[in-house]
């Protein structure tokens, strides 16, 4: 944390931010003045897209210089980050970095780098992408800041435990584990106590690493902004209940960046407020994300990052789109549990209850509720080779959905490793599935 580091941080991020703002303005101008493609089945991109791009790029730009000037923590996507935010940490999400690599088609190459170091092809492709990036030094975002602290919360999977054990051995920095007991039916009080107690221990470690104490007022502020952002995100998602849907789950997969990575930031709240206004404008004008929306589908599991565009276009050719997903929903559905006046206890409850930390029956109920609320015609269950906690149970869920008159397709793929995805088979299956849906 030298003066030179600080200089580099402010100079680098300052100049970078200027460049990104300029790009955003240019993109916004283009979006306004570009003649819409008449052949495309899609409506023009959301007008806030350039803003989103700026927001995300700025986050990674800050990351490039962060370790010279700020404390850095690497965290799992479902981790309770409010206390780290309140302590001024810069947060990096290896899973999101994995997704960025996936979207930019770098997943396979990085997975291979990890496999060459001995990591089996049967472990999660996010982990392989991240470890591959770590071992080879390659990343599409320029540079990842080194962590001073690792925060691993098991409310999304057990995979992160082992992954973070590898990171801890690699970086030799403290690892905070927030172990969130899986909820088979309801969470017992001792599980909430356990998570809360671990959060308190986590705060102690984070304070020690940061060299300062947490300011309760700041923690409350961050928690309040988190809640605000989560509520706004939920409202963004709910706009897709409208027919035609002004936003699709494909858009949401991209737009979820801030709610995952920048929860608790002012900028995130501002952004989602603007996005909501844009969607309302679309609804008022009767504009859907798809020009001709015939079939509305629910998506279960992570996106197939490297085939997002292809899948979206394939569905669009048949007048189909995704109007909701259990995945994007996961970051909104717990809003009501967040209580800024009791940040620690409420965090313990919130972070214990994500869909991935709950039983397979609960997921079935969620999918069915989404199908009703969003007036969906069917469900695509992405059977993700890399994500067992999300995928185990899907075969029974598919069975039950079909029995209840909701057609459901099990699509075999992997969220980040294109080698586990067979285009032709997938396309065939999806097409046959769409033909099956009466419309």
């Amino acid at each position: 944390m030298s003066i030179e580091g600080a200089l580099r941080y402010y100079l680098g991020t300052g100049i970078g931010k200027g460049v990104l703002r300029f790009e955003r303005l240019r993109n916004e101008w283009r979006l306004r003045h570009r003649a819409p493609k008449t052949s495309s089945p899609f409506s023009p991109p959301l007008s806030t897209s350039p803003w989103l791009k700026e927001l995300i790029s700025r986050h990674y730009l800050t990351g490039r210089y962060a370790d010279a000037h700020r404390k850095v923590a690497w965290v799992t996507s479902g981790a309770p980050v409010e206390f780290l935010k309140a302590l001024g940490y810069y947060l990096l999400y290896p899973e999101n970095h994995g997704a960025v690599c996936g979207i930019r088609r770098r997943g396979e190459e990085l997975c291979q780098a990890a496999e060459e170091a001995g990591y089996s092809r049967d472990i999660c492709s996010y982990a392989r992408t991240d470890l591959g990036s770590l071992l080879s030094g390659r990343t599409p975002v320029g540079r990842l800041p080194k962590p001073d602290l690792l925060l691993c919360c098991t409310n999304i999977c057990q995979t992160v435990l082992f992954w973070y054990r590898v990171l801890a051995a690699h970086f030799r920095v403290p690892l905070v584990i927030i172990d969130t007991p899986f909820i088979y039916s309801t969470a017992p009080a001792h599980a909430v106590d356990f998570v809360q107690r671990q959060l308190e221990l986590g705060v102690e470690t984070a304070e020690r690493v940061a060299g300062r104490s947490i300011d309760p007022a700041e923690l409350e502020r961050v928690t309040r902004r988190s809640r605000e952002a989560v509520e706004l995100w939920m409202r963004v998602l709910e706009r897709a209940r409208h027919v035609p849907a002004p936003i699709t789950a494909f858009d949401e997969f991209i737009h979820m960046g801030p709610i995952v990575e920048m929860r608790g930031d002012r900028a995130t709240v501002d952004y989602y407020r603007a996005l909501l206004a844009t969607l309302d404008l679309r609804i008022a004008r009767g504009t859907g994300a798809l020009k001709q929306e015939r079939i509305r589908l629910i998506w279960d599991n992570l996106p197939i990052w490297y085939r997002m565009r292809g899948l979206s276009e394939l569905l669009a050719r048949h007048g189909a789109t995704l109007v909701a997903s259990t995945y994007t929903n996961a970051w909104g559905e717990l809003a009501a549990l967040i209580d800024p006046s009791d940040p620690m206890r409420s965090a313990a409850r919130v972070y214990l209850h994500p869909i991935l930390n709950r039983g397979t029956g609960h997921k079935l109920d969620t999918i069915q509720r989404l199908a009703t609320d969003y007036a969906a015609h069917g469900v695509i269950l992405h059977s993700d080779r890399s994500c067992k906690p999300y995928s185990v149970g899907q075969m029974d869920q598919r069975e039950r959905l079909s029995a209840r008159g909701i057609p459901a397709l099990l699509l075999e793929a992997d969220h980040n490793d294109p080698r586990a995805f067979a285009d032709e088979q997938a396309e065939n299956r999806i097409q046959a599935f769409l033909e099956m849906i009466p419309s």
């Binding site: 396979e108 291979q112 496999e115 060459e116 170091a117 001995g118 294109p418 080698r419 067979a422 285009d423 032709e424 088979q425």
Partner: protein, 252 residues
């Protein structure tokens, strides 16, 4: 003839046999396709070896090694290939043995002993079987595809390393009108990518040498050298290295 050691390599596709003198030079060899009744075949070949090269201790290797009657010892092809290639090239290093059913990368010490090794997993990815399956789908003889791959002006990427997935990928490539030569070149690249991963997982110790029947395919050596960024040596008779190593081990 006065053989001092005999090696029989009962492989999944081809049975190879070889006899050496006490000084270790090859004086007799024999190669034939593996028959379903491997036990009988092995007995016949062992008898043939003794008849033509002289009675000598016999070491069996290859996946059918335990079926070779009259063998003093059965030793894995890993140890045998390492020994054979070591004798042939006169140094340690890395041996890449591409067999019909499995591929191995063997790290050989300066004394010819096995230091470490890695093998492909159960599926056919990275083995001769991968080329066999895909060549058959293209109605090509497996002997001609190497030269074809090298001569191809273009290359289409094949992302699947799995033989089953690759087969369906080929079907769609053909449907899209891709050139046969370009597909063949892509297939070789895919196989070599898998092998190169296996080599790197063990760490590259030069020289890198090929052995096993698939090594006769010229595109494999060329692409592997490219992928690893180092020279890849080819013994005179790569297919025989297992049997040769076994014969040498029979001398011990």
């Amino acid at each position: 003839m006065n053989a001092a050691g005999i090696g029989v390599d009962a492989g999944s596709t081809v049975v190879k046999a070889c006899a050496v003198t006490a000084a270790g030079s090859r004086i007799w060899q024999h190669v034939e396709l593996t028959e379903p009744r491997l036990e009988e075949q092995a007995r016949r070949i062992a008898a043939l070896a003794r008849e033509q090269a002289g009675a000598a201790p016999l070491v069996a290797t290859g996946y059918g090694r335990k079926l070779v009657a009259g063998a003093e010892r059965a030793i894995t092809e890993i140890t045998c290939h390492a020994r054979g290639v070591f004798a042939e090239l006169g140094s340690g290093g890395t041996v890449v043995d591409i067999g019909g059913q499995d591929s191995k990368v063997i790290s050989v010490g300066a004394d010819g002993s096995v230091r470490n090794f890695a093998m492909n997993d159960k599926c056919a990815a990275g083995t001769g079987r991968f080329l066999e399956v895909t060549a058959a789908r293209l109605r090509l003889a497996v002997e001609e595809i190497g030269a074809m791959a090298l001569a191809a002006a273009e290359e289409v990427p094949i992302s699947s390393t799995c033989a089953v997935f690759a087969e369906s990928e080929i079907v769609s490539l053909i449907a899209r009108g891709a050139a046969l030569e370009a597909i063949v070149r892509g297939l070789h690249r895919s196989l070599v990518a898998r092998l190169a991963s296996l080599v790197r997982s063990l760490g590259i110790v030069e020289p890198v040498a090929l052995s096993g029947g698939v090594a006769r395919n010229p595109a494999i050596a060329a692409f592997l050298a490219e992928a690893l960024g180092c020279e890849v040596k080819l013994p005179e008779a790569p297919q025989l290295m297992g049997a040769y190593g076994a014969a040498l081990l029979a001398l011990d």
